[in-house]
């Protein structure tokens, strides 16, 4: 560490003051002059034909400015919402991409589907008017589970998608896997359900469309993790406005977890409607709307088989997954259960042959897309429950079985059978570190003590891997991605020495304003209080691809480093001129330029001043100290680690107490340990939530969302957790200039398998997530009765 505010320091966050004093500026805190308010009338049915919509009465209600339906959008040539990742089925057919209108045209396909948009002078008036719209529905029989949707005779969610099959995709060498199974001494098989989750960022989604008829520009304020991507999609595909006439601003955003990546119907309609009525239009979701209309996560039904030799060495893995896509394809939905999932099925192991088949299906439920981890938690959950189960089947310790199959620390770069090349790692070290943290040696005594009190104690492991820092543009392009996944940064010195960094990454809790500033302080010697990080506004930031897939530091931070390199390069020329030396003799470190072998030096601040007041300046050099860089990664990064959960179960009540948690994660180099640890806490909390509490449940007959509020969907609260023991190991990533790997999703990827492995260890039987008290109690009672 070069200083107390440079790389490696737990710098307290620069952004905190405004959040702690009530001065954060979230979307609903913003109001535009003359603003009207929009409310969506949503479908109460899971599946129905719209026979007619009568807005006559509603249109006469007080304060109503306009009422729009899907027909109005279509009449203006506003295209539907798109899915930006093309997947090819195993028969060579492209995935089915049925129309996804921002407001339903003739059919509603899930509860909460948009039916009409009512704009009024006040929110109350808009709500009152929406109540007066008469919609004549012809109800149809819905289908809500992925498996049911594939059954013959199932209701058809889209007329142009036979059998509800979006794609039938495969990865890996099926023949090699078949051969591995033929040679196996033992096969472990499991049916595994990865439950559907509602992301539940605490700030509900919101948008304001604001049109300037003088300039023809639309400004869209939206709760987005990637405002530039929103601008690109809304211009190029939806046709809201040309890209240079559309400015997208994502101000302070109150959490995302993936759910605010996507380009949604509501912001599309607000941007369009603002021009129609020539007034700003604001929409803010109520929490119940968030439940119905935010893209959900997970919802995989999987059958997995693991072939092993007599020593427990993994020979082959076969995975069949049905992924529920919901009623329409959200922005990146197709990539999640395919390339973000099956490519990680090797886990941390040397399994030589892997084959995955994924069927993505449409149902009458909310669209499903990336949620913290996106495909990678589903992969880790399959692999790690299988490995734990295999250890139980074989009577080998789960620690030992993992160690027998770990990729060795000297085996990198390591090519897996599912098209990934792991760049670095030390999996045994993470396991050993976590074992120490949890005091594994003392576990047997703790278990005996629990038993003496009539409690069942269990311990569970999860050695996860993820591919993040998404991603080399050419690589993802070859796999079907419709966009490049680089990042941009602009580092601008001001004449008086302060620095503003414009980044295409977007912070919605991750602390970029601090971490990115630490990079500038470390490398350019600028006091951290003189560094400002600007993000979230396409009118300010050159360009960007946003924040998801734990990419901000590995890709966005690397782009900043590239811009820093350019600043240094130019600074050397200025410094050489100022000190009357040749450029080759100038050395730079930490914001000081020196003439090699002399005591002559100038500071970065002096150089920047000279660049803006070029009275004594190299004649062939542009003035100014302001550099922009784009960075496209050369590979994914591969954070990995081991998490160990310890639980105590009361068999009489089914209450699961998470009594201890140890996490050892390899994130490569760490810029701000405090922030990294916070990311682990939050990720693990979401993973524990998934395993223990959370479940999005649709009624199988009516298609109603039964868990549509905080009264029904169990959000994890402070008293659901122990204090976690978190350590990091640091094998630098060789693929980016910072040597960093990405830490945002790791906890959510690792945690569910660790916790379920601990719970099923305690119970002695397998159960699916979430391990609710009722489910655990029933399992405990069944085991007890069988023993009696």
């Amino acid at each position: 560490m070069s200083s107390e505010t440079g790389i490696g320091a737990s710098v307290r966050r620069k952004e905190d003051k405004r959040f702690l004093t009530g001065k954060g500026r979230y979307l609903d805190d913003i109001n535009r002059p003359g603003q009207a308010y929009g409310v969506f009338l949503r479908s109460p049915h899971a599946f129905a034909k719209i026979k007619s919509i009568d807005t006559a009465e509603a249109g006469k209600a007080p304060g109503v400015v306009a009422i729009y339906t899907g027909a109005d959008l279509a009449a203006d040539g506003i295209g539907g919402l798109i899915c930006g990742w093309a997947i090819t089925s195993k028969d060579g057919e492209p995935h089915k991409a049925p129309a996804h209108p921002a407001i339903a045209v003739d059919t509603v396909r899930h509860v909460g589907d948009q039916v009409a948009f009512v704009i009024a002078d006040s929110l109350a008036e808009a709500k009152d008017a929406a109540e007066l719209i008469e919609v004549d529905y012809e109800e149809l029989t819905p289908v809500v589970s992925g498996a049911d949707a594939l059954a013959s005779g199932a209701p058809q969610v889209h007329d142009d998608v036979p059998g509800n099959l979006c794609y039938d995709w495969e990865l890996g060498d099926q023949a090699a896997v078949d051969a591995a199974f033929a040679a196996a001494a033992h096969v472990t098989k499991m049916d595994i359900y990865n439950n559907r989750l509602v992301p539940n960022a605490m700030e509900p989604r919101a948008a304001i469309g604001d049109f300037d008829s003088g300039t023809d520009e639309i400004v869209l304020y939206t709760t987005s993790q990637n405002p530039h991507v929103a601008r690109l999609v809304l211009s190029a595909f939806v046709g809201i406005a040309p890209e240079h006439k559309l400015r997208v601003i994502a101000p302070d955003v109150g959490g995302g977890f993936g759910s605010k990546i996507f380009i949604y119907a509501e912001e599309t309609v607000c941007a369009w409607a603002a021009r129609k009525i020539d007034r700003p239009v604001k929409w803010t979701a109520e929490r119940s709307e968030s439940f119905l209309s935010d893209a959900h996560g997970r919802d995989h039904h999987t059958t997995a088989e693991l072939a092993m030799d007599a020593n427990g060495k993994f020979l082959g893995l076969r995975v069949n997954t049905v992924a529920n896509m919901g009623a329409y394809l959200s922005t990146f939905a197709t990539s999640v259960p395919s390339y973000l999932y099956a490519t990680l099925l090797a886990g941390q192991y040397t399994t030589p042959a892997i084959y995955a088949n994924v069927k993505a299906v449409f149902t009458n439920t909310a669209p499903v897309d990336a949620y913290r981890g996106a495909g990678r938690p589903e992969a880790t959950y399959v692999v790690e429950r299988m490995v734990e189960r295999a250890a139980r089947d074989l009577g080998i310790s789960p620690v030992e079985l993992r160690k027998r199959n770990f990729i060795a620390p000297d085996a990198y770069p390591y090519e897996t059978p599912v098209i990934m090349t792991y760049d670095s790692g030390n999996y045994p070290l993470n396991m050993d570190t976590a074992l120490k943290l949890i005091d594994y040696d003392g576990y047997a005594a703790r278990k005996a003590e629990s038993e003496s009190r009539g409690k069942k104690r269990g311990i569970g492991f999860s050695s996860f891997i993820e591919a993040c820092g998404i991603a080399p543009s050419a690589a993802v392009g070859s796999l079907g991605a419709g966009v490049g996944l680089w990042e941009s940064a602009q580092v601008r010195f001001n004449p008086t020495g302060g620095v503003t960094v414009f980044t295409g990454s977007h912070s919605h809790g991750q602390g970029h304003e601090t971490t990115f500033a630490q990079l500038i302080t470390e490398h350019l010697g600028v006091p951290i209080e003189n560094v400002e990080i600007s993000h979230g506004d396409t009118g300010k930031v050159p360009f960007g691809m946003g924040t998801y897939g734990s990419r901000s530091l590995a890709v966005g931070g690397s782009a900043i480093m590239r811009a820093v390199d350019k600043i240094v390069e130019k600074g050397k020329k200025v410094a050489a001129h100022l000190m009357e030396a040749s450029v080759e003799d100038i050395e730079h470190a930490n914001g000081v330029f020196k003439v090699a072998g002399t005591d002559k030096q100038v500071t970065m601040a002096e150089v920047a001043f000279a660049a803006y007041v070029p009275h004594n300046y190299p004649p062939d050099l542009e003035p100014g100290m302001d550099e922009t860089a784009f960075y496209d990664p050369t590979n994914f990064t591969f954070p990995a680690g081991t998490h160990i959960a310890e639980v105590e179960i009361d068999p009489e009540t089914g209450v699961v107490e998470v009594v201890d948690w140890a996490a050892s994660d390899d994130f490569g180099n760490v810029i701000n340990p405090m922030i990294v640890e916070g990311q682990i806490h939050g990720g693990v909390a979401q993973g524990i939530g998934q395993a223990l509490l959370e479940n999005a449940v649709y009624d199988s007959e009516t298609g109603q969302l039964l868990t549509g509020s905080y009264m029904d969907y169990t959000m994890p609260r402070a008293d659901d957790f122990p204090s976690l023991k978190v350590e990091t190991t640091n094998t630098p990533c060789p693929g980016n200039p910072l040597g960093v790997k990405g830490c945002g999703e790791a906890g959510a990827i690792a945690a569910p398998a660790a916790l379920m492995n601990a719970i099923t260890d305690a119970l002695g039987v397998e159960i699916d997530m979430p391990a609710t008290r009722e489910k655990v109690w029933r399992a405990a009672q069944t085991v007890q009765q069988a023993a009696e």
């Binding site: 960022a201 959490g255 929490r287 991750q510 806490h681």
Partner: protein, 155 residues
């Protein structure tokens, strides 16, 4: 429309409101005190917690009109002369916030918790914050912050 008067962050305020106006709407829309947030519609999340006559209350559970003559403190009223309240300072010191959306409600609840339990242990803090949902932090650093603040508040 009826009129309501109260003291908010030490200042007398008075305004006409629709009878159905919730206190949180009154604060956000009439007084532009947007630090108090709305995170749900079932009084579960706690993002809107303020102090009414010194006690923490979810501002979505009370109508503006019910608070005639009340003393209301919001997150904006905590810092004094540019100095953050010890609870705010402890949240910063221990990284007790990430996206910041639940933070105002969390801080207001935590201050009342420490008032009621001047020397809280971890269990008391975790149970005491049960009415506030945070999706980012996993609560661990919030618990640490509240403990530190309790010490610094002279508990």
């Amino acid at each position: 429309m009826p009129n309501v008067s109260m003291t908010v962050n030490g200042k007398a305020v008075s305004a006409e409101v629709e009878p159905r106006t919730l206190l949180v709407q009154f604060l956000r829309e009439k007084l532009s005190l947007t630090g108090t947030h709305v995170g749900c519609d079932t009084s579960q999340c706690g993002a809107c917690v303020v102090h009414i006559n010194g006690k923490s209350v979810k501002a979505c559970t009370t109508l503006a009109l019910q608070n005639e003559g009340a003393e209301v403190t919001t997150i904006e009223g905590l810092a004094q002369n540019g100095e953050m309240h010890p609870m705010q300072a402890a949240f910063k010191e221990h990284h007790g916030l990430q996206c910041g959306f639940c933070t105002p409600g969390m801080v207001m609840s935590a201050i009342d918790l420490v008032k009621t339990h001047p020397n809280p242990d971890e269990k008391t803090i975790r149970e005491g914050l049960e009415g506030n949902i945070c999706r980012c932090t996993g609560y661990q650093n919030i618990v640490k912050a509240v403990k530190t603040a309790a010490d610094n508040m002279g508990g």
